[in-house]
């Protein structure tokens, strides 16, 4: 295609690497800046809330070793960098002696699955509605209906989740209140399991979609209005092309380009929203893991999980940035 210039790729990759490095450094600094000895404090808090902690000495020893607390700071830092980059986050406090990386590996597929359903849904519904809202030929009733679907826009998804749990799960009993699938089930490729999975997934997905798609609708509408005024739209009309063809091949195709860049920025908010929604639905993903580890002061898990989410976001942003030039033929000009 020739759309990707070397400069552009280098800059994007550089930003990605710096993002990861800055995040690790912040996490390291926070641990060092924390008042007192974080390890003993956490173990003390844990034993206060859970009663007697077995293996207390082993935990403290494991952590001391993991943090390398006897080394000078720069060496600690280098070790820390190495540990995080190799996904070695040490042992978990609540699930000791399980490693944090094992917990994350177990939770991550659930979160990715939820995200892979939600994000395309938000992008598709949002842009479709935005395009229809701005298109001259959209039937009036539809144009009046779309804004009504957007009343939840900008709310925190977690609030939508609370309302949905209360109304649809608790009161109307249409959906299960929590969990990713029915109790006592084993993950398998049976119709029964998959339908249970979908049944449990509808409310979390709906809470995430309903608060977010409106932004895409508004953004798309704005871009459609801008595109509408372009000369090539006038010429497309003058050519007598079928209206629907003009809509998707001329107007939407051009209006959607900035929306794709916006996707990279939206990932941040969406990730945060998903964590909270998972937490209140006790979904088996990263969000619930973070929630329980905050509750149990399991700092190792908090740190490791947060890093993985940051890394994940950065990778997704990088992928979107690298895909973008492929769909916008003009971007090669900017690099030169």
């Amino acid at each position: 295609m020739g759309g990707l210039t070397l400069n552009y790729i280098i800059r994007r990759v550089l930003i990605f690497l710096l993002t990861v490095w800055v995040s690790i450094t912040i996490i390291f600094m926070v641990a060092r800046l924390a008042p007192g000895d974080p390890i003993s404090a956490m173990v003390a808090q844990a034993s206060a809330s859970m009663g007697v902690v077995e293996n207390q000495d082993a935990i403290i020893e494991g952590w001391k070793e993991y943090f390398g607390l006897n080394d000078p700071i720069p060496i600690q830092y280098v070790k820390f960098l190495g540990n995080l980059l190799t996904f070695d986050f040490g042992p978990s406090l609540i699930a000791f002696p399980a490693r944090v990386s094992e917990l994350i590996a177990r939770a991550l597929p659930w979160s990715i699955g939820l995200g892979l359903v939600t994000l395309p849904l938000i992008f598709f519904i949002g842009n479709l509605f935005g395009a229809l809202l701005a298109w001259r030929r959209t039937p009036g009733p539809l144009k009046a209906f779309i804004p009504m679907t957007m009343i939840f826009t900008s709310l925190p998804s977690v609030l939508a989740g609370l309302v949905f749990i209360f109304v649809f799960a608790f009161r109307m009993k249409l959906f299960p209140i929590a969990g990713p699938f029915g109790r006592g089930m084993q993950p398998s490729f049976t119709i029964e399991f998959i339908s249970s999975l979908i049944h449990h997934g509808i409310l979390p997905v709906a809470s995430l979609v309903i608060v977010s798609f409106g932004f895409w609708t508004l953004g798309m509408r704005g871009m459609m209005v801008t595109t509408e005024g372009e000369d090539y739209m006038t010429l497309a009309d003058a050519k007598g092309l079928p209206p629907f063809y003009v809509l998707y091949r001329y107007q939407v195709r051009n209006a959607i380009l900035p929306q794709v860049t916006a996707l990279a920025i939206a990932l941040r908010t969406l990730g945060a929203g998903q964590i909270l929604v998972e937490a209140i639905f006790s979904y088996r993903g990263i969000g619930t893991l973070i929630y329980t580890s905050i509750r149990n002061q399991d700092y190792n898990t908090i740190q490791g999980t947060s890093f993985v989410v940051i890394l994940f976001t950065a990778v997704s942003v990088l992928i979107i940035d690298l895909i973008y030039p492929l769909i916008d033929p003009r971007i090669s000009l900017e690099g030169n």
């Binding site: 930003i15 900008s154 609030l159």
Partner: protein
């Protein structure tokens, strides 16, 4: 008006009168006004509320436990009490007092964070645009990185180890993620202004560049900066509420997020204590929709084309 032929005038006249105001002052569009009223009433509640409501009831153990709002019943069949019109929570906190203090608290955290972010953005944006070179590169790169990092996760890491007990500290932490957008806006504007002819003319006539640019830029930039401020306020409140629901942030100060977290922790939904989480949720909905309306209104100020699109 009215000068064209009779036929023309009759064709054009009917829709004219209603539109005059909106065209004359774009800042008076309906969305903006309604949004300001919604957000303003929350702030007003913070000012007037304490005069009418005993705010001390917002703390633990000041009232009977688990009371439903007046005219409702809780699961045990107890009726509401007119002295606690919105009910009480499981530790004897009065919901009305909680909301009267908590709502403005939550809103202010957002405003203060966005304010600091804006301040940083103005300083960095101007530096970036004026100094250029290495300073510009560094500022731009920092903005790009900050925008990529999900703020909630960094704040979780920080606050889970270093507990935050003051709303101001919370706001400052949130503002660390609120500067890139205003920085980018201002930088872009400074750059395009530097190239424009009339700034060069002004330079030739001896007017200091910075003062000219500041004066010429602000009117253009104002709706965008305002929108960015409101956007950051929304984002900061969102993050603050998120942290509070996860159990972080100030634990002793009443905020809406803290109130919701308390409800979740004590199974407010499953015990049908809807007022525990429902009332702060409603207030948050008012805040978020109000802020969104303000933002949409500002969009129309900045982009007149959208106004036309709305009209049809």
């Amino acid at each position: 008006m009215g000068a064209a032929t009779g036929q023309t005038a009759s064709l054009a006249a009917p829709r004219k009168a209603g539109r005059l105001n909106r065209f004359d002052n774009p800042w008076l569009n309906i969305k903006l006004v309604v949004g300001v009223i919604m957000v303003g009433s929350i702030l007003l509640m913070g000012v007037i509320g304490p005069l009418l409501v005993d705010v001390d009831l917002a703390y633990v153990g000041r009232s009977p436990l688990n009371l439903p709002p007046f005219c409702f019943e809780n699961m045990r069949g107890e009726g509401g009490d007119p002295t606690h019109p919105l009910g009480t929570d499981n530790s004897g906190r009065d919901m009305l007092s909680l909301i009267v203090i908590g709502a403005p608290n939550s809103l202010l955290v957002g405003f203060v964070a966005a304010g600091f972010g804006m301040l940083g953005g103005i300083i960095l944006g101007f530096s970036s645009g004026f100094l250029g070179g290495l300073a510009d590169d560094i500022i731009r790169l920092s903005a790009d990185i900050t925008i990529t990092i999900p703020s909630l996760l960094v704040l979780i890491v920080i606050q889970s180890l270093i507990p935050v007990q003051s709303l101001l500290v919370m706001a400052v932490l949130l503002s660390l993620f609120a500067w890139p957008q205003p920085t980018r806006l201002i930088r872009a504007q400074v750059m395009s202004m530097r190239e424009s002819g009339y700034v060069k003319m002004a330079q030739l006539s001896g007017v200091p560049t910075s003062s000219i640019m500041f004066r010429e830029m602000m009117p253009n930039l104002l709706p965008y900066l305002a929108a960015s401020f409101i956007g950051n306020t929304t984002g900061s409140i969102l993050a603050a509420v998120g942290l509070e629901i996860l159990g972080l942030g100030p634990q002793r100060l009443p905020t809406l997020g803290r109130t919701i977290q308390n409800a979740i922790d004590n199974s407010g939904i499953l015990r049908d204590m809807w007022w525990w989480w429902g009332l702060p949720t409603v207030i948050l909905i008012v805040i978020f929709i109000g802020l969104l309306l303000i933002n949409l209104g500002l969009d129309e100020v900045a982009n007149p084309r959208l106004r036309k699109a709305t009209r049809q």
